[in-house]
């Protein structure tokens, strides 16, 4: 060591890093053996042939860590469908990213999970469709899936990895919420996500089949509150409500271009999963541009960042830096313009109609589910 570099003056890079996303959601592939009718992937699923290479992902992870990203969420589709997942996990560990595997579990073997743990995987989140096998397998459209998930959950714990269960909730499983909470405890999960389905993409396509009643949602909230009290120190429960019944919108992704970045299988960088539904936005690819430049300067990330894009009633709202105007994709889908107020907010002139649609859907007989697969996506 000779002369020490001056440390008192922050470099421009440090200023950029301070604004960096905390989380990076890596949609490694859209391939998935399950066909859940509320999948958060777009209706137009990307094909395997267009997926980023191992080297491209490793480069993205290094860039992400350099930018200031702290956590990597390995998702899909089903991330274990990628044969190079071990290399990607090792790459994350190498650059100091906290890695979280978001998996259906059904493709995993114990040997592969051991390898992933050895390469530095930090945490596993397994999705379940219900606590009852027959209904779970019906919803995922995958025979034997539930039993396999339980087995994988046990491997996760046996290997000393922390486990989260993620349970998407809707009218076809909400009656089993108590059993889902008990299942999480029995499996040794420390976290449970009771996540009411969010109605975009596939879930929007299946809204009438999935939307619970307002009473069911309120009951689920009470149930979760009681379970949190009873299971303090044993199970942390995160609860996501369907915003059709909310008064205030959710701060979608923690604010557009603010806390999180999504990379699609082919390398497009998005401010949220559903951003591609917004017409007129151009999305840059990590194949062509550096992650830092995309994050800081790209048109898509700038479009709804901060509050300058807002119109009334958002613009003068005292909550504009709390919920950041809610969800742009929902404003587009329901109000026809992504820069309008999210109809989940009761200050939106469309709020009553928005809540009314949910009530109507929830009280009609559920139509057959449209399962998530490339064929159904092409028809949609």
């Amino acid at each position: 060591m000779t002369a020490a570099a001056p440390t008192s003056v922050p470099s421009p890079d440090a200023a950029a890093c301070a604004r960096a996303p905390v989380g990076l959601l890596a949609e490694l592939t859209h391939r998935c053996p399950l066909q859940c009718p509320y999948c958060s992937n777009p209706l137009a699923l990307e094909r395997a042939a267009g997926e980023l290479s191992t080297e491209a992902w490793l480069d993205v992870l290094a860039q992400a860590a350099d930018l200031g990203v702290l956590q990597l969420h390995l998702s899909g589709g089903e991330p274990t469908a990628r044969r190079d997942l071990e290399e990607i996990v090792a790459g994350a560990a190498k650059v100091g990213l906290y890695s979280n595997l978001i998996t259906a579990g059904v493709l995993l073997t114990r040997a592969r999970l051991e390898k992933l743990a050895a390469r530095g995987l930090d945490h596993v989140q397994i999705s379940i469709q219900d606590a009852h096998a027959a209904n779970a397998d019906r919803i995922a459209h995958y025979a034997g899936g539930h039993a396999k998930k339980l087995e994988v959950a046990q491997w996760v714990r046996a290997l000393g990895l922390p486990l989260t269960l993620n349970a998407p909730i809707h009218r076809q499983n909400i009656q089993n919420l108590p059993a889902i909470i008990e299942l999480a405890v029995t499996l040794g999960a420390r976290r449970l996500e009771v996540a009411h389905v969010q109605y975009y993409g596939w879930a929007l396509r299946n809204r009438q089949a999935l939307m619970p009643t307002r009473e069911q949602v309120l009951q689920s909230a009470e149930l979760v509150e009681a379970a949190r009290e009873r299971l303090r120190g044993i199970l942390v429960i995160d609860f996501v409500v369907p915003d059709y019944y909310a008064r205030r919108p959710k701060p979608c992704m923690g604010g557009w271009g603010r806390g999180s970045i999504v990379i699609t299988p082919s390398g497009k960088a998005l401010p949220c999963h559903a951003a591609e539904t917004i017409p007129g936005l151009a999305f840059d690819s990590v194949r062509e541009k550096r992650l830092r430049d995309i994050w800081l300067e790209s048109e898509a990330f700038q479009a709804f960042r901060g509050t300058a894009w807002m119109r009334e009633p958002c613009r003068s709202c005292e909550l504009r830096e709390v919920d950041w105007g809610g969800c742009r994709c929902q404003a587009l889908a329901f109000a026809g313009d992504a820069s309008l107020t999210d109809p989940a907010c009761d200050k939106s002139p469309l709020h009553a109609a928005f809540a009314g649609i949910a009530e109507l859907d929830a009280n009609l007989p559920p139509p057959p589910l449209v399962f998530r697969n490339p064929r159904a996506g092409a028809r949609a």
């Binding site: 440090a14 301070a18 930090d122 990895l161 989260t164 420390r190 976290r191 303090r232 120190g233």
Partner: protein
Amino acid sequence: MSEPQQPRRTLIGATSRPLLPRHIKLRHDDARDRWTILAPERVFTPDPIAVAVLQLCDGNRTVETIAAELAQTYNAPQARILADIAALLQDLADKGVVTA
């Protein structure tokens, strides 16, 4: 073969020996110049006192020992520090950040 253990809440007392589980990472976030706790799908930003406490949670020191060390470092009454850090550690244990 023993019965599978029922999951239990970690209760923190003066003689507990707290530590961070392997999957919890207390790390300085250079980009933002602050300490962070990386946990499953969570990032906590502990205040300086919590950082000082967590840096002493090695599974060997008891909560009492930690309180005594901090009382000396900060020249503060040990009983008060003990009560404060036991409450802090219980909260962190309930969040899954600390075990004992």
